[in-house]
């Protein structure tokens, strides 16, 4: 046991002291928050007020058009198609003199495109004006019309979705749980690859440097393999914790330093300008932290840690086995890795379904079978609708799964690590599995 501890310590310390590790651990959260801040900054900067000149000689629309924070409508009489730019308007809306039917075309003239959302807003205004005109022409009292138009939906009712399981009810927010589920699924998917590949490279390094034989003359191969796997797991947990602390810390500093009002302005502007989707995503990330706090974190965080470690242990020993049979040729590693990467990618595909439909049969089965459960179950858990017995079965099968894969992988590892310069086929590995020690 003492020796495994020495191996763990070496694996951990050499990696944590490595410059690339330190840089990537600090830079990734900086990039992440920096990217969000930059896109938020640019979308706030780019709030550009539009002033539209409307030529409405009959005055049909004048009373209905309402300016908002971003688009202002004015009805000057001395502006026409040729001079709206000089007069300081960004667009000119021309309504025919005798506007009456679909044959008469209304045109919005501008030098630069206003953007899809802005055009939609202008059309909404026109539609509302025409509808109002029709109501008035059919003898609807102006007062009644105004009061109907003035109804605010949010003052009339409050809409909420509730999940009911037996006696337990909980508020649900399907968008939020989808986001958290998808996010943690992707995070586990990525970490499986990052740290799994780190285990594989570590084993390959020991084999190619020929140090494996020196170490194995004082430590059992299984101890060496487990020491490496646990050491790298500790590196992974360290890195993950630093990332979480840095991202949460930095983003709260940033969102505290940007006023709420500014964000809202920017969001409205973004909506009306139809700018890139990631900008609005960045803004809502900074804006909706309160909502995020309502998610069942008490369940999510422990489960995340469990599935992160369990999934890693399930696959890491397989990566170690692959590393042990690879010789100098990196392409060989690629083809040998295929049987490991396939189930991980397949679980990712199941996960994309499971995040949206946590109770679909595919999601339920995917979250029980050990090879996909770490990724798929994490996508289901934030919905809050996973029965406890399913979580229990999934966890127990994952534990049994990684004990099994570790035992099988250790058999391949033990032989492979000392086999130099020979290409190993899957058939041969199969034979190693069933050979007694």
């Amino acid at each position: 046991m003492n020796k495994v501890w020495l191996v763990i310590k070496r694996e951990y310390l050499t990696r944590v002291r490595n410059k690339t590790f330190i840089l990537s651990t600090i830079l990734l959260p900086l990039f992440f928050v920096g990217f969000i801040v930059a896109s938020a900054y640019f979308s706030i900067k780019s709030v550009e007020k539009q002033k539209i000149a409307v030529r409405d000689d009959n005055g049909i629309f004048k009373s209905s058009f309402q300016s908002d924070k971003v688009i202002t409508y004015e009805f000057p009489s001395d502006v026409n198609v040729n001079n709206f730019k000089q007069k300081g308007y960004s667009a000119f809306l021309q309504i025919p003199n005798e506007y009456n039917s679909a044959q008469d075309s209304i045109s919005l003239i501008s030098e630069k495109q206003l953007g899809v959302t802005a055009e939609e807003k202008v059309r909404d205004q026109i539609n509302a004006a025409i509808r109002n005109k029709a109501f008035l022409e059919n003898n609807i009292n102006k007062k009644v019309l105004d009061s109907i138009n003035g109804i605010d939906e949010e003052q009339l009712y409050n809409f909420s979705t509730v999940i009911k399981q037996g006696d337990k009810t909980s508020k649900s927010n399907s968008g939020l749980s989808y986001g958290i589920g998808f996010g943690s699924g992707i995070l586990i998917y990525m970490t499986l690859f990052i740290y799994g590949a780190a285990v594989m490279r570590g084993v390959m390094e020991e084999k190619m440097n020929r140090i494996a034989e020196v170490i194995i003359s004082s430590v059992r191969p299984f101890q060496l393999m487990m020491g490496k796997i646990i050491g790298i797991a500790a590196v992974g947990i360290t890195q993950l914790l630093i990332w979480i602390v840095l991202i949460v810390g930095l983003s709260s500093i940033v969102s505290a330093s940007i006023s709420h009002d500014m964000l809202q302005n920017a969001q409205i502007a973004n909506g009306s300008m139809g700018s890139a989707a990631n900008n609005s995503a960045a803004l809502s990330f900074l804006n909706t932290k309160n909502e995020v706090l309502q998610a069942p974190w008490g369940l999510i965080i422990p489960c995340f840690l469990f599935y992160f470690i369990g999934g890693y242990l399930f696959y890491a020993s397989l990566f170690a086995a692959v590393g042990s049979v690879v010789n100098e040729d990196p392409q060989e590693a690629q083809s040998l890795m295929l049987p490991i990467t396939m189930p991980i990618i397949l679980s990712f595909i199941i996960m994309t379904t499971a995040a949206g439909k946590p109770d679909a049969p595919l999601s339920v089965w995917g979250s029980m079978i050990p090879f996909s459960s770490p990724i798929v179950m994490m996508a289901r858990i934030p919905s809050g609708s996973v029965p406890l017995w399913q979580i229990a079965v999934s966890m127990i099968s994952l534990i049994a799964g990684f004990i099994l894969t570790t035992m099988l992988a250790a058999k391949i590892y033990r032989t492979g690590i000392l086999l130099y310069g020979k290409k190993v086929t899957f058939r041969e590995m199969g034979r190693w599995l069933f050979r007694k020690s």
């Binding site: 020929r210 494996a212 020196v214």
Partner: protein, 309 residues
């Protein structure tokens, strides 16, 4: 007392009998040569002795008791033929790590490493990486790492490959010193002149089987072919006889092979009756190199793949 005794060891791979029923013993404190051509099964044999492989059948006795890898490997130092060190790790840390894996305490290991580094003039290496070392330097480091924990049995696989004559003799001296302290050394090589110089006892294996076993002196004696070198003031005229055959003639020397049934005295008698002026008469023992080549050629040198199961 024998420190190590192998009894009918067997290790078969899918296509080869790597070690096929080999038995021998190694006396405590001796320098023992394990010889054999490439692919003879030496490495497999050494890996079983170091507990890396388990034999398919047979027994290993270490210090008179059944070999227990978990405990006994701490008393063994193994320097494999394929040198291995972590390239990116600092040399001092690396030596410390490997010493502690052999069960040494931190302070003990640190002290021993410093002593050896002083002895081999390696003090300035502590914070360097293996990447910065030349092949000979890393060879020296590997030797130090192997002997750090003061093993009772030291196994060296080709310890001088890649070393210049100065460093070779430095390490050779250390090997003799260790042997004087009672440490048993197994020495695996194909360089026969080193074996003749260093080893007390040798075993020759080929194709997984033992073909020679004994002390260097004994083996040379057993393999002698009754060849003598005779020196003259002046080479005598050739003459007919059935006692010996001349196999070489150079300067004032004749090399002769005595025919079976005759002894060296008969040869001298023949020369004396022909009035030859003999000034020297020596027996030529075969070199280990010759014995090695002859014995290995008797069996087919390169292994053929065969079906074992």
């Amino acid at each position: 007392m024998d420190i190590l005794e192998l009894q009918n060891l067997k290790k078969y791979y899918a296509t080869q009998k790597a070690v096929d029923d080999i038995s021998f013993s190694i006396p405590q404190g001796s320098i023992f040569g394990l010889l054999g051509p490439n692919g003879a099964g030496k490495t497999t044999l050494l890996r079983m002795i170091t507990g890396i492989f388990y034999p398919d059948s047979g027994h290993i006795l270490f210090e008179g008791k059944k070999f227990d890898p978990a405990k006994d490997v701490l008393k063994i130092g193994y320097m494999p033929e394929e040198r291995g060190l972590y390239k990116k790790m600092k040399i001092g840390e690396q030596a410390l790590y490997l010493a502690r894996l052999k069960g040494m305490s931190r302070t003990d290991a640190e002290k021993k490493i410093k002593d050896w580094f002083v002895k081999f003039e390696m003090q300035s290496w502590w914070n360097k990486k293996v990447d910065d070392l030349s092949k000979g330097m890393s060879q020296k480091l590997q030797f130090v790492i192997t002997v750090l924990h003061e093993p009772r049995l030291l196994i060296l696989d080709e310890p001088f490959s890649g070393l210049d004559p100065v460093n070779s003799s430095l390490i050779k001296d250390e090997i003799f010193k260790l042997a004087q302290k009672g440490i048993t050394i197994i020495f695996s090589t194909h360089r026969m002149e080193q074996v003749e110089e260093i080893c007390d006892k040798i075993v020759l294996v080929n194709k997984g089987k033992k073909i020679l076993d004994g002390s260097v002196k004994q083996i040379k004696h057993d393999c002698k072919e009754n060849i003598f070198k005779v020196g003259f003031e002046e080479i005598p005229q050739p003459f007919e006889n059935n006692v010996f055959e001349i196999i070489n003639s150079k300067d004032n020397f004749l090399t002769v092979k005595i025919n079976t049934g005759y002894n060296p005295a008969a040869v001298l008698q023949q020369f004396l009756t022909h009035n030859a002026s003999i000034i020297s008469f020596n027996e030529i023992l075969p070199s280990l190199n010759d014995i090695f080549i002859k014995k290995v050629e008797d069996t087919k040198a390169s292994r053929q793949f065969e079906k074992v199961f």
